[in-house]
């Protein structure tokens, strides 16, 4: 009855309006407060360190404010590393697509049960550390490793193949780590494609391969682009596997960051490299979103 009290003599045209409004906003505040623990955590372990990184990148080794950390990146060695990072990431992503798409397609066409069982083999690598898997590849691929020994014993080759400590070994190891990141979102999006669309395509007169190319493939693109973006971005910052399997022949951006800290102790320079990687990654993700409008098919002709 606040209205009546506030406006004595005026008939209460909207009974309880104020009280109901207050209840509503109190309820919204209570709900919003649920995000508080998460928001605090994100601020402490993400926003704050990144801000600090950004701040550090504007100081030289002796603590003077400078833009030198960014200017250095125009040196040929950094430009080369930058390009090679993108080459490796692109190549790994491409191989992942070629290997992962058929697997995801197969899984999506099986019964949920069978697919669930086979999915164990896809996610199995997740249960082992990247370091252990990378050393395992070293054991398999090195000059006297299992693969070379078998091939020589079988008489296929006479001298060992250079399978590791180069680009090939790096790509093999990275693909192994990255494949689940491509298959999982792709599989999820393929599962969501109602089989009735393939029936409809067949009914329209499409052969199975036409139906796949013209209906299934375009409909699986949102999942595919999500997987590609994920793998590509993870590759850009990948350190352990290229460092161990590249044998110094493959230069990745993350390895330059590590060098700047462990060899030169130059936190400012390393921070600047980190900031550039972060900005480039953000630009790529944004470009992907714009280019492939993954959220909607509308208006496509």
């Amino acid at each position: 009855m606040t209205m009546v009290l506030n406006h004595p003599g005026i008939a209460d045209a909207e009974p309880n309006a104020d009280a109901l409004k207050r209840r509503g906003s109190r309820e919204r505040r209570a709900l919003a407060s649920l995000t508080l623990p998460g928001a605090i955590l994100i601020f402490l372990v993400l926003i704050l360190p990144i801000g600090w990184l950004f701040w550090l990148s504007f100081f030289g080794p002796s603590g003077e404010a400078t833009l030198e950390n960014y200017a250095r990146m125009l040196k040929p060695i950094y430009v080369r590393t930058f390009i090679s990072t993108f080459e490796v990431a692109g190549l790994v992503t491409l191989v992942c697509v070629l290997l992962g798409y058929p697997v995801a397609y197969l899984l999506s066409q099986l019964s949920e049960r069978t697919a669930g069982l086979l999915m164990i083999f896809v996610v199995l690598p997740f249960w082992t550390s990247v370091l252990v898997r990378t050393y395992a590849w070293l054991v398999l691929l090195q000059r006297t490793g299992l693969v070379n020994t078998w091939l020589i014993d079988a008489g296929v080759i006479s001298t060992p193949l250079p399978l590791v400590h180069n680009m090939l070994g790096t790509v093999i190891g990275m693909v192994h780590v990255m494949l689940p990141f491509l298959i999982l979102p792709l599989y999820a999006s393929m599962r969501a494609i109602d089989p009735v669309y393939m029936r409809a395509a067949a009914n329209c007169g499409a052969t199975p391969s036409q139906a796949f190319r013209q209906v299934f493939l375009p409909m699986s693109l949102p999942g595919l682009t999500a997987g590609i973006a994920l793998v590509f971005v993870l590759c850009l910052g990948f350190f352990v596997t290229p460092a161990l399997l590249g044998g110094g022949r493959v230069a990745m951006w993350a390895m330059q960051i590590a060098n700047n800290i462990s060899v030169y102790g130059n936190w400012g320079a390393a921070s600047a490299l980190g900031v550039v990687l972060l900005v480039v990654t953000a630009i790529i993700l944004y470009a992907f979103k714009r280019l492939f409008r993954v959220d909607t098919f509308e208006g496509v002709r």
Binding site: D194, C204, G205, Q210, V215, M219, L221, T296, R301
Partner: protein, 355 residues
């Protein structure tokens, strides 16, 4: 006229479950035939066998005399409207409708002309360049229909195409489907579980249950002369009264019952009288004793377009009686009042449990 379908002895089992139990059916060219049945009856399976999505265990289907069953779906040249339309979300309305034509090598001005024509038939030409996600349910339904007829298939299949629409739109689309069929004359096989829809649209209805066609006939045959209790129950708001039968005739609560057809051998195996709310007459001569039902009114409900009156028989069975808003000079009964009802001879049908 092309479009003659002969379905012969189609059998399909899923494990021990017989989805189609030796189904045979002839469909005349240009006919609108509805497969009507409850879910799990096999009606959709039969449609999918026609479309080529379900491989039967045995049987034969010929279209205009040519064996059809061994063709893959994409070579069958059938138009189909799916239950949820199955419009391709990555294509515009125009591209969806043009898709079957492009697969048939039609292009350029010819493609545009035929797409326009098909969209015009379903009154969707003005939305040709929309994405399908921007359409309402009724609009999607029209586009799906345009895609199914654009390549002039000899046979059109429809799998509960109106079931996702609300009642008002559904009734409107029924009328449009009927007009379109009259105009195109394409042989149509239509699947539905909605008996009113089947009665509205069909030239003939095949009532399907347990993987078999239990009755095949025109809508009035199906409604007025159901062959067994299942058909009578499935169509209309049907209630049943038990009758005592002998070799000479039937008795309803001890009174003689005059049935539509003259009494014949075998009728004594039909112990159920079919009662439909709109067939019960409540005005009559008190001296008319045959086909008279004496009951007690239990509920009188105003439903806008009619009154629904529920009555209870002495043995506790309840019947419904429907009266239009014009009561014909007779007062509505009060609850608990005795009421006399008559069933005209032409509407007095007895059915067996099975036949």
């Amino acid at each position: 006229m092309p479009g003659r379908v002969e379905i012969r002895n189609i059998k399909k089992a899923y494990g021990s479950f017989l989805a189609l139990d030796d189904v045979s059916l002839d469909i005349a060219p240009g006919e609108f035939l509805t497969l009507l049945g409850p879910s799990g009856s096999g009606k959709t399976t039969l449609l999918n066998v026609l479309a080529g999505f379900v491989r039967p265990d045995s049987g034969s289907i010929t279209i205009d005399g040519a064996e059809f069953l061994l063709l893959p779906p994409h070579k069958r040249n059938l138009g189909m409207v799916f239950q949820n339309y199955a419009l391709f979300p990555h294509m515009s309305v125009r591209r969806n409708v043009g898709y079957p034509l492009r697969l048939r090598g039609v292009s350029g001005a010819e493609l545009d002309r035929r797409v326009e024509e098909a969209l015009g038939l379903v009154q969707m030409a003005h939305l040709a360049d929309r994405g399908v996600n921007a359409l309402s349910g009724g609009q999607r339904q029209r586009v799906a229909l345009a895609r199914a007829i654009v390549f002039e298939p000899s046979i059109l299949l429809m799998d509960e195409p109106l079931s996702a629409l609300d009642k008002k739109l559904r009734e409107h689309m029924q009328l449009e489907l009927k007009r379109l069929h009259d105009r195109l004359g394409t042989t149509t096989v239509y699947v539905t579980h909605d008996q009113r829809e089947a009665l509205t649209l069909s030239d003939r209805i095949a009532v399907v249950n347990g993987g078999k066609i239990v009755q095949l006939g025109t809508p009035d045959e199906i409604y007025d002369r159901p062959k067994n209790k299942f058909v009578a129950d499935f169509i209309g708001e049907t209630r049943f009264l038990p009758v005592e039968t002998s070799t000479s005739g039937a008795l309803l609560y001890g009174r003689p019952l005059r049935t539509r057809d003259d009494w014949k051998d075998g009728d004594s195996d039909k112990p159920w009288l079919v009662i439909r709310p709109e067939r019960l007459r409540w005005k009559g001569d008190e001296t008319e004793t045959a086909n008279r039902i004496e009951a007690e009114a239990t509920d009188v409900i105003y439903q806008g377009d009619s009154y629904l009156i529920t009555v209870r028989m002495p043995d506790g069975i309840e019947l419904d009686l429907r009266r239009g808003p014009d009561l014909g000079g007779k007062d509505l009964p009060e609850r608990g009042q005795p009421i006399q009802l008559w069933l005209d001879r032409e509407h007095t049908i007895l059915v067996a449990d099975k036949s």
